[in-house]
Symmetry: C2
Subunit: 216 residues, 2 copies
Amino acid sequence: MATRRIGMLIFPRLTQLDMTGPYEVLARLPDTKVELVARTLAPVTTDRGMQILPTVTYDSCPPLDVVFVPGGFGQIDLMGDVVVLDFLKKHAKNARYVTSVCTGSLLLGAAGLLEGYEATTHWAFHEMLSGFGAKPKEARVVVDRNRISGGGVTAGIDFGLRLVAELAGETVAKTIQLGLEYDPKPPFNCGHPSVAEPQIVAIAMRQIEERRAARD
Amino acid sequence: MATRRIGMLIFPRLTQLDMTGPYEVLARLPDTKVELVARTLAPVTTDRGMQILPTVTYDSCPPLDVVFVPGGFGQIDLMGDVVVLDFLKKHAKNARYVTSVCTGSLLLGAAGLLEGYEATTHWAFHEMLSGFGAKPKEARVVVDRNRISGGGVTAGIDFGLRLVAELAGETVAKTIQLGLEYDPKPPFNCGHPSVAEPQIVAIAMRQIEERRAARD
């Protein structure tokens, strides 16, 4: 029997690495079951076409020690969805940690779960956090009491290791980091607008705007 | 119509982040279709329980510009599987790049595709590469002619960006890196045995041995 349950929300057009990065880290926690929670048990298609199977529905989801929300443009459709927001509110009430990666924090915000908390999100959406009463903080991972949020997409790996350290201590986190050979060597120094060349930032922003407009 | 096809092999008990990391990077290439190739179209269960749907089978897979093999203990079962090895040999012959992450390189090796090539793999399996006639090289990503291999698990992100630069140039690779906010800040300096504390290396190696023995 798993002694710890982590529930990761999945939904159409999520960004899969927002979820699969932390999943790979968190599923290595001892005595832990990671649930993928969706509206139904039908396959969920991510924003780049990968299809992933949920393990439980909103209705059948057991009590959670950790609530986790990934990002992606699909999450915009959920921000006014009472069923999803109620699910998050209900499970956040008793969870030990309420967490997100990338624009997942905007959905936590829409559920009223970041009011008065420091939080982060993908760099292109950072300014939106204050609209939900959150205090935007520029950092790869932000911990404020029991709210933990990661920045854009790949920040989910740093986030996952940080959460493991909180839940199970540094030795477990370090062992998982070594097992995953997480000794990154990015080929370019351009992973954040603060370091990328201006023309790369301009192209990235234009692409994000186009995808937001097209919603596909 | 996609002008470029990338085929990623998936199989029971693969390590999902070996594949999902590069998938997130490669699926952002323009005019590109990423196929998940398996024996049948039934869901494939990764070594930590996530279920992912293939898009094509060995038989229905179209010609590929890039052949990619992820790792995980499930790949050990495939190393003597003639159907899989023949699939890899057939598609490698005309592919522009033949690639792997983590212990995926051992499967390429078993198919005879790394003979005389420099390659890398997960740190715990590095010594096995020479058994397939490959030249083991300690590096996060190794490029030797049209063979590109990444190290353990998370090296797949570095690998993916390097492959994008080869296929589509540095501007595209940098834009994807920025979109994924790949500006990693690992919480600990322990992602490789060369930097981790000896007791962490010992725990990680014991866990890997246990999982290899249990094969579950």
